[in-house]
Amino acid sequence: MDLADLMQNTGLTPTQKKVYEGMIQQYAEAMQNEEWDWQRTANDPLSPMIKDMAGNILAGHHRFIAAEVAGVQIPAGVVKVFASSGARVPRSWSEVVVVSGVR
């Protein structure tokens, strides 16, 4: 999975060093099959997708990536914007390691 290529036009920047491929594929499958509950993601304070004002992802890396893998547009109002910059240093997508789960 080439994250730099996949995420290049999203305007989003990762802040975590690894993502788990199994989770991305599972989420992407649900999104592709229209089984993902975007209303819940949007309205449930327990499962927010969060970015800061600069586009740095604070929570929801797997879901942001899965949406791109699935080729679906994240509905309006789903992504929450944190009112200040996060403390974590932003990375480039090419730095993010995709963990396969077995060696």
């Binding site: 975590q16 060093k17 449930d44 927010p48 969060i50 604070l58 929570a59 944190f82 963990v99 789960g101």
Partner: protein, 194 residues
């Protein structure tokens, strides 16, 4: 696995019984085994109830919840990798530091019991530059994880602007400490993601 929680994934080594051709029943059996070994574990009804996708029979959610703190275990099959079983463990940084001991103890024993290695998903502290992300044996687990946990905990305290401790799940920590600081939703749909 976000900025609110420390996260590791335990994956099977080549000789592990969890390596290939596992079934949903294996996942359920390991979950039952964990609950039998540590009575502090229960099925995590909250995690199951808040899924954004249809429930799967190859996934189990457990929670360890005591006065020491709370951490979650997610067991799942990875069908794209020969149906290996993976175990993800995580805890919210707002938990008291007393959660570290049971988190380490459970992780070490799971690594021994099922012949697993540990992938550290969260960041290392700057002074840990060069430390491999993969922990091969349980003997070195604490020495690697502890500085990393403390570093990430400090970042969480900066982000959340509080060092308040609370025994919460990661998503409960977000709702409690981060959601009050969201901007009002004014962006048009296209600007949200692109």
């Amino acid at each position: 696995m976000g900025f609110e929680a420390y996260s590791i994934v335990l994956c099977p080594n080549e000789q592990s019984p969890l390596r290939t051709n596992q079934t949903p029943e294996t996942v359920q059996s390991i979950a039952a085994d964990i609950q039998e070994r540590w009575t502090e574990f229960q099925s995590d009804a909250v995690a199951s109830a808040y899924l954004e996708y249809p429930p799967r029979n190859d996934e189990e959610f457990l929670v360890y919840h005591t006065a020491e703190g709370l951490f979650q275990v997610r067991l799942s099959l990875n069908p794209r990798l020969g149906n290996a079983v993976n175990l993800s463990l995580r805890f919210a940084y707002c938990n008291p530091a007393t959660v570290y001991e049971p988190f380490f103890a459970v992780t070490e024993e799971l690594m021994r019991r099922y012949d697993l290695y540990c992938e550290v998903m969260s960041d290392f502290a700057p002074e840990q530059a060069g430390v491999p992300d993969t922990i091969e044996t349980p003997d070195t687990l604490r020495a690697v994880l502890l500085p990393s946990i403390e570093y990430n905990r400090r970042l969480w305290q900066l982000d959340s602007d509080t060092d308040t401790e609370a025994i919460l799940r990661p998503n409960e920590a977000l709702a409690c400490f981060i959601a009050p600081r969201f901007l009002a939703p004014t962006e048009p749909a296209a600007a949200l993601t692109r």
